[in-house]
């Protein structure tokens, strides 16, 4: 019941905050959002399950009741966690609180609505990462869009209307495509499944019980469904060339929302890819390894090149997210312990680091009211602490050893280089790895131009050290990044444990 409690508490918190007066909505939201953190940490401490939730492993904190019946299939309220979802839950709760705190400065109107929506989004995210029944999961998956639409649309920058609707419609189309693909798959399984519970479907698919459906023979149906679902999730990740909603959304969104968007929402895509495509249909995934690894490499390099061309700090970080998530795809398709496990770890690592970077950019923006590289120089002179953390975060983003980013990336590189799914994997890996040079390039250029050199700033704002509650979240994130970088086993153990079952059987 802990999971239900977690989600319910967060929903209630959202309601409470929504009706709370604006003056202390922010403080209240932060305080209330501490509860989910405690809950998730308690789960982490109590976690005793092993194996992959979808492939017969034991499921922690499980609940399973029938919700309704549709087309002869039971839809369950079926939630639980395993080594893949638990780290993401911890990430979600922690990042949400930090994002809320980081919102105290920039968000100045309709606060109660803002924080209410943030908590509402957190609740749905928790649902996404815990639900193990397709329909329940899909409800949360779609429900995340609603608060995000408002958060971008109401509190966003000048071009927020366009960004919000683009995000809204683009990702919604993706979900529909994915939905059709998955449902076709379910009916292709025919009587071998009696419900929409993901474990049932995953095991049936890996057992090769898929039959012909709607005029498509089993093999074709499987491939078509795989592609449809991959496209659907790829938009969320986002994988180039389906990424164009992201920069707009990030640039327009207020900092805390960017943090959640980059830190958690993108992980929904990779999490779903892992849970659905790569867990359920490894045979198709390995058959399509070349295109998949191809788009992964393209995302890495192309995204990094785009970041290199940006002048807006936030756009730089936004595009670099595209780049970093490309690594995750590469790791997933490798089908090795380090590859898939590293991809999962990289979700957490990138969640922390991109959150850190967006917050740092936000703190700079709060003081300077500009994000343009050309508008400022040498601000490390006036806000050394922020600059210092910015530098640390940037090096984390470049994959500095003993920070979480390096762990994730190295695991992925190791795993995909030694992968046997395709003879070309070492080449794909080497190509993708060049991203670490480009990322260093654009981040170093950006820092040199903005933080260092003689101080100059053409704006009427007084540039001083940021308030404590702006910098504190940064420090926390930096600390977490280093802790995870020094001791990746905090999560990596349970991740591997949950990932390994995926790597055997199922036509591999």
């Amino acid at each position: 019941m802990i999971i239900e409690a977690l989600i319910a508490v967060t929903f209630l918190a959202a309601l409470v905050v929504f009706v709370a007066p604006d003056e202390y909505a922010g403080r209240l939201a932060a305080a209330l959002s501490a509860l989910p953190i405690l809950g998730s940490l308690w789960m982490w401490a109590q976690y005793d399950a092993s194996g992959n939730a979808l492939l017969g492993g034991s499921i922690a904190f499980e609940t399973d009741v029938v919700w309704l019946t549709l087309g002869g299939l039971d839809l369950h309220w079926f939630v639980g966690v395993d080594g893949i979802s638990l780290p993401l839950i911890v990430l979600t709760t922690i990042l949400s609180t930090l994002a809320i705190v980081s919102a105290w400065t920039p968000i100045t109107d309709r606060e109660s609505q803002f924080y209410g929506l943030m908590l509402f989004m957190e609740a749905n995210l928790l649902g996404v990462f815990t639900a193990l029944d397709f329909f329940a999961w899909f409800v949360f998956w779609e429900a995340v869009l609603v608060p995000m639409y408002f958060l971008i649309g109401v509190w966003g920058g000048p071009n927020r209307r366009y960004a919000a609707i683009k995000f809204f419609v683009y990702t919604n189309v993706a979900s529909l495509v994915m939905f059709i693909g998955f449902i076709a798959l379910v009916f292709g399984l025919g009587d071998s499944v009696s419900s929409m519970r993901l474990p049932e479907i995953a095991q049936a698919l890996r057992a090769g019980e898929l039959g012909a459906f709607a005029g498509l023979d089993a093999a074709t149906l499987k491939t078509v469904a795989f592609v449809a679902m991959f496209l659907g999730f790829a938009v969320k990740v986002p994988v180039a060339p389906l990424h164009t909603w992201l920069p707009d959304a990030h640039v327009e969104a207020p900092t805390p929302v960017s943090v959640m968007l980059a830190g958690v929402l993108l992980k929904m895509g990779t999490y779903a890819l892992l849970r659905f495509n790569f867990t359920m249909m490894p045979d198709v995934a390995t058959a399509l390894v070349v295109p998949i690894a191809g788009v992964a490499v393209i995302s890495v390099i192309y995204g990094a090149m785009l970041a290199l061309a940006q002048q807006d700090l936030k756009r730089i970080v936004a595009y670099s997210s595209v780049s970093s998530m490309g690594y995750v795809i590469l790791g997933l398709v490798a089908y090795t312990t380090y590859g898939v496990g590293g991809a999962t770890f990289q979700m957490i690592a990138h969640g922390l680091i991109s959150g850190l970077m967006f917050m740092a950019v936000g703190v700079i923006y709060n003081t300077t009211h500009t994000r343009m590289v050309g508008d400022m120089s040498g601000i490390a002179d006036r806000m050394p602490l922020t600059a210092g953390i910015f530098v640390a975060g940037a090096f984390g983003y470049m994959g500095l050893p003993l920070m979480a980013g390096f762990a994730g990336e190295f695991f992925i590189f190791k795993g995909s280089f030694e992968s046997t799914v395709h003879a070309g994997m070492p080449l794909f890996t080497a190509a993708a790895m060049f991203g670490i040079v480009i990322v260093a390039g654009y981040l170093l250029f950006a820092m040199q131009r903005t933080l260092f050199g003689p101080f100059s700033f053409d704006g009427e704002y007084e540039i001083t050290n940021a308030p404590f509650h702006d910098v504190a979240p940064l420090a926390v994130l930096l600390l977490l990044t280093i802790v995870l970088g020094v001791a990746p086993d905090l999560f990596f153990g349970m991740i591997q444990d949950a990932v390994n079952p995926i790597l055997t059987g199922g036509g591999l």
């Binding site: 785009l306 090096f395 390039g441």
Partner: protein, 672 residues
């Protein structure tokens, strides 16, 4: 197990603690945390000496101290400490130089009233710790991780004066160029894991051992469809990428001269003992892996020889004292690479050691000169300083003699052995080595020239500026390190006097004996067998007396120095290098190396990025917006059907019905 070696991790941790202290409370400590750093490095130094002594006693140490990532049904990734003669010697060098640099910094930074000292000492501490961690690393992954941390520290320290335009840019360049090399290194690490399933340096399960076994057909490893030796060569060269970057070998040497933007003690640390040495040390550390691949060896040797000459020529015409030293550094590390490639494992280590001493000395000496000259580095503004600052002068002189390779100073012995080994193996019928040797030999002449051009311009003749008339004095904290190093630069060579041994028959090549100890797979004998079996070095078994080659190189060194003496040891030296004309311009601009690399970065990459950005905005996003645009346009057209005139509705309704009727009529065949 010997107690003292169990404290080896402390050697690494002490400076790290000083980093934390300086970072946390440095601004509340006297001297901005300097004492913490000095104490820590002193402690490390003592421990290192103890370590060396223990190792001399024949003990070694290899233990996994931390499992970084425990693999489930996969390999573990661990941190371990490996203490053998090589790492012990390197520990000594690093801690000694680091300690002296900390002391010197009191004079160079504190006394000069620099701001941000906690940041500076934190940087130094972390830098030392990272380097020591790299030195004791017992596997390639750990080595890489600390290698990267070293890079980070170099970024932080070179960019210490971040308020000026120059340093941040230099720091960025240093990190970026080395990062480019590290990219290949990382690919190499991953490849090593994929090939051998382990990355440890030592033991029968270490990857060099496995490589050897594989070539001897005693083990099988994944070679991705290549012949084992070919694949090992590829992997070795990938790792070498990182070496070339960090050790500033051609073509990735360009960052180093710019790195002179950093505070001079930092330059000393970087060039003498830490960052740049890391590359060469890495090759020595995994020498067993390179020894099995003649191609890799040849490439290493050739790159080294070429770099030695190439950098030396650039050093000829520089105006700033630190620039000369920078190019000399590149050149000297070229020698070490040459030695490694040429099979002179001991020679390389030897030169690594002597160079550490005399180059640290030269940089610190330059630092003290710069203090005296109120941070003016232009040699043409100096002159006649030898009377005003004798300590600096004589120590600097000792260092210069060592650098130029003049008998009996340290540099002579090591450089001489480098060239000797290379020649020896070259004569086995290895033309590439001979070519590399020729370049190395030629570089000796230039080295002598630029070294003494520097000395004479700086210290001899008449003072050419007001500041040179009465220079700013320096205190004990500057003189003490100079003194220590000055002595070492003079005598360090005595530990390995191969030619003398040759003459007298005495066994006084201590370094050889020193490096014959330790783990079976990491000794000089083992390496020479490997070289003989796989690279054919020494296969012919011909003997060559070291005397003649020694004499030749010494002669060249003297010639170079002598020419410098003739030209520059005069009261009013003139810019003789102007006679070189166009060549000088080329040399002065470093063969336009920077230009083309900057062009690659800004002239090629950025336009490509901009093009990609245009493409992204225009095509990729254009499609997205196009779809919505088309839909809305279609919607705008569709609604036009609704004309508002009810008669039209009736018409359309009828037409629609009729269409349906006809379509289905024909489909269903009603009209037959």
């Amino acid at each position: 197990m010997a107690g003292i070696l169990d404290f080896a991790p402390a050697i690494v941790l002490l400076p790290f603690v000083s980093f934390l202290v300086a970072l946390a409370v440095g601004d509340r400590l006297p001297k901005g945390g300097a004492y913490a750093g000095i104490a820590a490095t002193a402690g490390s130094l003592v421990l290192s000496i103890a370590t060396v002594l223990t190792v001399a006693g024949g003990q070694t140490y290899d233990a996994t101290i931390y499992t970084w990532a425990e693999g489930l049904e996969a390999v573990d990734l661990t941190f371990g400490v490996l203490i053998d003669p090589l790492s012990a010697m390197m520990l000594l060098i690093v801690t000694l130089v680091a300690f002296l640099v900390h002391v010197f910094s009191l004079g160079y930074m504190n006394d000069e009233g620099e701001t941000g000292l906690p940041r500076y000492y934190a940087g130094l501490g972390l830098f030392t710790a990272s380097m020591l961690g790299f030195v004791v690393a017992d596997n390639l992954l750990m080595a890489f991780m600390f290698f990267e941390l070293v890079g980070l520290c170099s970024y932080l320290l070179i960019g210490f004066h971040f308020r000026e335009p120059g340093p941040p840019s230099a720091a960025k360049k240093a990190f970026l160029v080395t990062r480019f090399g590290d990219y290949f290194f990382l690919v190499g690490v991953v490849a090593v894991f994929a090939t051998f399933g382990t990355a440890s340096f030592v033991g029968s399960e270490s990857f060099p051992a496995l490589a050897e076994a594989a070539l001897r057909g005693e083990a099988s490893v994944t070679t991705f469809g290549f012949a084992p030796q070919t694949w090992f060569t590829i992997v070795g060269l990938l790792v070498l990428g990182g070496v070339i970057g960090k050790s500033a070998q051609f073509p990735l040497h360009t960052w180093l001269p710019d790195a002179m933007e950093g505070p001079t003690p930092v330059s000393a640390l970087i060039h003498a003992a830490t960052m740049v040495a890391a590359g060469v040390y890495l090759v020595a550390r995994m020498y067993g892996f390179y020894a099995v691949s003649p191609t890799a060896l040849a490439i290493i040797a050739f790159v080294g020889g070429f770099t030695a000459l190439f950098a030396a020529t650039m050093g000829l015409v520089k105006r700033e004292i630190k620039q000369v030293l920078a190019y000399s550094t590149i050149s000297q590390y070229g020698y070490m690479m040459l030695a490694l490639g040429g099979g002179g494992y001991v020679a390389a280590t030897f030169h690594l050691m002597t160079h550490a001493f005399f180059k640290a000395l030269l940089f610190l000496g330059a630092g003290s000169v710069i203090i005296a000259m109120h941070h003016n580095e232009n040699m043409w503004d100096m002159g006649g300083l030898k009377d005003k600052m004798p300590v600096t002068y004589y120590t600097f002189l000792s260092g210069s003699l060592a650098l130029a390779g003049i008998f009996p100073f340290a540099g002579f012995w090591s450089k001489d052995e480098v060239l000797y080994e290379t020649l020896l193996h070259g004569l086995d019928g290895n033309p590439i080595l001979l070519g590399a040797y020729a370049m190395g030999l030629l570089a000796v002449f230039f080295t002598g020239f630029y070294t003494f051009r520097m000395v004479f311009l700086t210290f001899h003749g008449k003072p050419r500026t007001q500041t040179a008339e009465d220079p700013h004095g320096v205190r004990w904290n500057v003189k003490f390190p100079l003194a220590v190093l000055g002595v070492l630069a003079a005598v360090a060579g005595l530990v390995n006097m191969v030619p003398v041994a040759e003459l007298t028959g005495l066994h006084i090549e201590f370094l050889h004996t020193w490096l014959e100890h330790g783990y079976a797979g990491l000794t000089t004998e083992h390496y020479s067998t490997l070289l003989q079996d796989f690279a054919g070095y020494g296969a012919a078994g011909l003997h060559l007396s070291p005397l003649l080659p020694g004499a030749v190189s010494l002669g060249l060194a003297l010639a170079g120095s002598g020419l410098a003496y003739l030209l520059y040891n005069v009261p009013e030296p003139v810019r003789h290098t102007d006679r070189l004309g166009g060549i000088k311009k080329v040399l002065y601009n470093n063969y336009y190396q920077d230009e083309y690399q900057v062009w690659l970065a800004n002239g090629v990459t950025r336009p490509v990025a901009r093009a990609a950005n245009k493409f992204d905005g225009g095509v990729v996003d254009g499609v997205v917006n196009g779809v919505s645009g088309v839909s809305l346009f279609a919607g705008g057209r569709v609604r036009r059907i609704q004309t508002g005139v009810v008669s039209n509705y009736a018409v359309l309704l009828t037409l629609g019905l009729t269409a349906l009727l006809l379509a289905f009529g024909i489909l269903g065949g009603w009209f037959v």
